[in-house]
Symmetry: C2
Subunit: 252 residues, 2 copies
């Protein structure tokens, strides 16, 4: 469990995410948060294993959260934290954990300061948290809300990114991943034999192959990821030794 | 069930999607397909209710597909259709439906024509389909593969978009959604009372509210969606009648 005020980052292995919003499912908005969350967790060495995109429906969100929270070390939600009728994340988390919603005095004070005389009950809906939740990020004016192992993050990409900076100080994986990539001028089918040889010789290394059909610079990007930098380097060098030299565009 | 060669689009109500790929979970690639799929289905009046992002793991994909295929009228997969070790979608669909993988002669012929003498067994892995799957899109050189109610679509965004054009000719919802949007100069908390009044007076209309914190043009985008154009228009007009005229940026 993540506790506000921990001095050292907590080690977690697996993560899941719940992206919340009708607008993501109807194509009105292109999600920008999964990529950022994935990259952050990958750099920390935490394996993001499952992501769900669900509508603004309290029952659905609460049910999914209950399952994800039990199955994964840490869960991140994105979206549904505003003051309007379609912002149901806080009440859904509270429902998932069978606890009431309360007003967090620190947020209430911030909102009253921010909006001054314009501050209404509607504004103060943004001060609600599930009872018992922690605030993570002491130096941050707007800390992140963490209920049990669920980080409740806002959907606005700029604010979501700010909260990931807090995540970085609270969590880390058992070992960060080391990653390299090779750009090759060979089309993906021409690399299958090489890749099969490398994959079977280096089982601890995750090898990814991503074709580009319309890129003038290269045809396939091959990635190597492992917690052990030596294992990763051996797989990379094995691959490079098998790749015809005129097929190498560059190593990143 | 979607059948290749249907003359009229089949009516389906609900959809789910499975986005497949370690690269989406590690933040190496930002998904571009969900937004397009969501917009296409929304225009057709099909409700995309649930989306999952999962790694390149056959067992995981097969298990999820079995559940989604039973729970929703139609399911779309994206990714994992290339020739390399991490492309497991076809075998996973076959596993989900307990059927063998076979080579589709039409794809084999296309691949042999495309690659000529360079065509190897590795290339021909891209000719595999789950036994019993249909090909949808007769006029299309590369039809889409449809196994029961699962459309197996490629991950490359350019190719995914081409396949959506086929989806449009095969499927439609009970009634397409009518959609309008209002851009308002008011911050979201200031709209809560108006929105609550409109939402409760027009239960058949889906009202969405999306704040923009860093946009110079407007502060909140409010969307109105309904299958019934008159209901949608009434909700829109109700909202506009309550919005102070100096807060209206424009209607889209």
């Amino acid at each position: 469990m993540t506790e506000a005020g921990d001095s050292a980052p907590r080690v977690v292995e697996t993560a899941a995410a719940l992206l919340i919003g009708n607008e993501l499912l109807s194509g009105k908005v292109r999600d920008a948060n999964l990529e950022r969350l994935g990259r952050t967790l990958h750099e920390l060495g935490i394996r993001l294993a499952r992501v769900l995109v669900v509508p603004d429906e309290r029952e659905v969100i609460a049910g999914e959260l209950r399952e994800l929270s039990e199955a994964y070390d840490v869960v991140f939600t994105s979206g549904g934290m505003g003051p309007t009728h379609d912002d149901v994340t806080i009440v859904a988390v509270a429902q998932a954990f069978d606890c009431p919603v309360v007003v967090e005095p620190r947020f209430e004070e911030l909102l009253r300061r921010l909006y001054g005389e314009r501050c209404t009950e509607a504004h103060l809906r943004m001060a609600r948290i599930p009872s018992g939740a922690c605030l993570a990020g002491d130096g941050n004016e707007w800390p992140a809300i963490v209920a049990r192992n669920v980080w409740i993050l806002p959907g606005l990409p700029e604010v979501f990114a700010e909260k990931l900076a807090i995540v970085r100080t609270y969590l880390r994986g058992p070992r960060p991943f080391c990653s390299r990539a090779v750009l090759a001028a060979t089309e993906e089918p021409g690399l299958v034999a090489l890749l099969d040889a490398v994959v079977s010789a280096h089982p601890s290394v995750e090898v990814g192959s991503y074709p580009k059909w319309f890129d003038p610079e290269y045809k396939t990007r091959i990635t190597f990821d492992a917690p052990d930098p030596d294992a990763m380097r051996r797989a990379l060098e094995h691959f490079l030794s098998l790749l015809p030299s005129d097929a190498l565009v560059r190593v990143e």
